[in-house]
């Protein structure tokens, strides 16, 4: 009995220690975003919202935030539509070399973002495409398409195949089956793929850094802020980004998993 109590104590201590490790940087980040002083390091001089004010007054940061949202939502939508169609085609029909096709669609997932970015950069340079938010978006679709395809493909079971057959049997054309039956039926996984893609794109640095020029996304803008060293304003931006991401996560949890749980 004593040994079980010790192991329980050890377990809880370990849990607390690791939670401490996991939350330490975030806690420090958020705490010193309220720092009333020039440096976001101890000692804590008292709370102020000044840095948040500066963040929202910074037009470069705000436009970067807008760019990020635009690229994230745009690239996630394209990746979802392409991924859904591909999953539908490969799960519902017998196609030659379907294993190869699936492998090709998944392949970008196993390659470092840096390499994808470099490949696109050399190619765009070679054919003379100038860098912009569009090229960033293209890169983000490349990394999110495998994710969307894999998530949606995995959720397409045989039972749903029969349901789609029934719809076709009742006179639905292929596009009607897709829009009125398959898509609503698979909505939880489509939404999951979409939100995950949005957060990945929203957070992505290296592709956005290498493939953008004048208009940049938020991570790239934050990166250039880092050059000026430690600054409570950076803490404030980081805290805002964190809150937005957690809000997205909660949205996903509420919309998608609530729905799935109901069924």
């Amino acid at each position: 009995m004593i040994s079980s109590r010790i192991s329980k104590l050890l377990s809880w201590s370990y849990l607390i220690a690791l939670y401490g490790f996991i939350f330490l940087p975030v806690a420090v980040l958020v705490l010193f975003s309220f720092q009333d002083g020039r440096l976001p390091v101890p000692p804590f001089n008292g709370a102020t919202l000044k840095w948040y004010g500066e963040v929202f007054a910074d037009s470069r940061l705000m436009s970067a935030l807008g760019n990020s949202l635009m690229v994230a939502i745009g690239s996630a939508s394209v990746a979802c539509v392409l991924g859904f169609c591909a999953a539908y085609g490969l799960a519902r029909f017998v196609l030659p070399a379907s294993r190869l096709q699936r492998g090709l669609l998944i392949a970008p997932m196993t390659v470092s973002y840096l390499i994808i970015a470099l490949g696109l950069l050399t190619t765009f340079n070679w054919i003379g495409v100038s860098l912009s938010l569009w090229t960033v978006g293209i890169g983000h679709v490349v990394i999110n398409l495998p994710l969307c395809f894999a998530i949606i493909y995995a959720s397409m079971g045989d039972h749903q195949k029969n349901i789609e057959r029934a719809a076709r049997d009742l006179g639905a054309a292929e596009w009607q089956v897709m829009t009125q039956i398959s898509a609503p039926m698979l909505m939880p996984s489509i939404l999951a793929a979409f939100f995950l893609s949005v957060t990945f794109s929203w957070d992505e640095f290296i592709i956005a850094f290498l493939l953008s020029r004048f208009d940049v996304t938020l991570p790239v803008e934050i990166w250039s802020m880092l050059r000026s060293g430690l600054n409570p304003k950076t803490n404030a931006v980081g805290s805002v980004v964190f809150l937005v991401s957690v809000a997205l996560l909660l949205l996903l949890e509420l919309i998608v998993f609530r729905r799935t749980a109901k069924k």
Partner: protein, 369 residues
């Protein structure tokens, strides 16, 4: 709406496997046809050919006199009721039933009225606003039926629709299905592996095995006068007793078996030659007491090995005196007293005995199937 179906020499192969082997069948308008057979016998393949989910490798299918080659499932005058019901999980029952009409561009008010009418027919009028996951298995099955009938198909294809239900509910749904079919008059083609279900609902049963049709006829016909060993054994319990045709006259076939020689009245189409191997097929309930009216034949005495009570009858295993290795299954009356070791007389009405060509392959002599 209703229409006849005509299947001519339909064959379907998947690679080296022949799922359907030169099958021909005429179905009249308004008929309730049951395709009966074990899994892998080709019954579901035949249904898929009718529904248009598969194309025949050779042969043709006509519905209402129209060739169905190149007609997509959506354009055929058929609808299918799937085994797992395949209800649209994100739609209410009303939207489920009205879906086919929506695809046919029927106005909203009209299709909703029709959907409610059909839901009323299957007893679910008050649940029109519910979603499929709120229903029980039997209710889902009814919605699937209403949905398939809403577009007024000429032919309704039912793919083991009762397979997922428990026994009691299944019996109840059989009666409902039959009643609804009589009411709407649509041609029903129903696939099952359950012979009791087939007998309960079919106008005609099509017994299938290994991609071929073994037997076609009314339930009574198939049960009482099966045309093949497979058909006889698939439609309930039967005793097979191998024998040889000794003599043949207008009034009797004289057959020699290990249990003695018996005279059986010839059936209409019995092209047996003298000296050929034949099999006597005897249903367990046809062994009767030796006294009573009508003609009687006997297969000698048999010893009771064991027995169990089934409510309507006792089911007993007997070993004949003349050939103790053989086991005969017989149904004794409810009132009978079954004592292991007792001796009984194997007495039969000769008109109930069916003479079939050949011996059962891979079956030990005289075994019960």
């Amino acid at each position: 709406m209703t229409a006849p179906v005509s299947i001519r020499n339909a064959t379907k192969t998947f690679g080296a496997f022949t799922a359907l082997d030169d099958v021909s069948l005429e179905i009249s308008a308004g008929e309730f046809i049951v395709l009966l057979g074990p899994s892998g016998c080709g019954k579901t393949t035949l249904l898929s050919l009718l529904g248009g989910f598969l194309s025949p490798t050779s042969g043709s299918i006509e519905i209402a006199g129209r060739n169905m080659a190149d007609v997509a499932p959506a354009k055929r005058p058929t609808t299918t009721m799937f085994q797992d019901y395949a209800l649209f999980p994100h739609m209410t029952l009303r939207d489920n039933v009205a879906f086919g009409l929506k695809m046919r561009k029927v106005a909203k008010a009209k299709r909703h009225a029709k959907a409610e009418e059909l839901l009323d027919m299957v007893g679910l009028k008050t649940s029109a606003h519910k979603k499929p996951h709120e229903l029980s298995g039997g209710q889902r099955q009814r919605v699937a039926l209403a949905r398939a009938l809403a577009v007024e198909p000429d032919v309704l294809l039912l793919d083991e629709p009762l397979g997922a239900l428990d026994l009691k509910l299944r019996r109840q749904m059989q009666d409902e299905l039959k009643a609804i079919q009589k009411r709407v008059g649509t041609t029903f083609v129903h696939v099952t592996h359950d012979q009791e279900e087939a007998m309960a609902i079919a106008d005609r049963i099509v017994v299938m095995n290994a991609g071929k049709i073994e037997d076609v006829g009314s339930p009574e016909n198939i049960y009482m006068q099966p045309k093949s060993l497979f058909s006889a054994s698939f439609m309930g319990e039967v005793n097979f007793i191998p024998g040889t045709l000794e003599a043949k006259s207008d009034t009797a076939l004289t057959i020699k078996t290990a249990l003695g020689t018996v005279d059986i009245p010839p059936s209409d189409d019995a092209p047996f030659k003298q000296g050929t191997s034949v099999t006597l097929a005897i249903r367990p309930e046809h062994f009767r007491a030796s006294t009573g009216a009508g003609p009687r034949i006997t297969l000698g005495k048999a010893k009771v090995e064991d027995g169990s009570f089934f409510g309507t009858h006792h089911r007993a295993h007997l070993s004949p005196l003349d050939y103790p290795n053989m086991t005969i299954t017989a149904h004794m009356p409810q009132s009978a007293v079954i004592e292991p070791g007792a001796w009984v007389e194997l007495t039969l009405d000769p008109t109930t005995v069916v003479v079939l060509p050949d011996h059962p392959a891979n079956t030990p002599v005289g075994s019960t199937v």
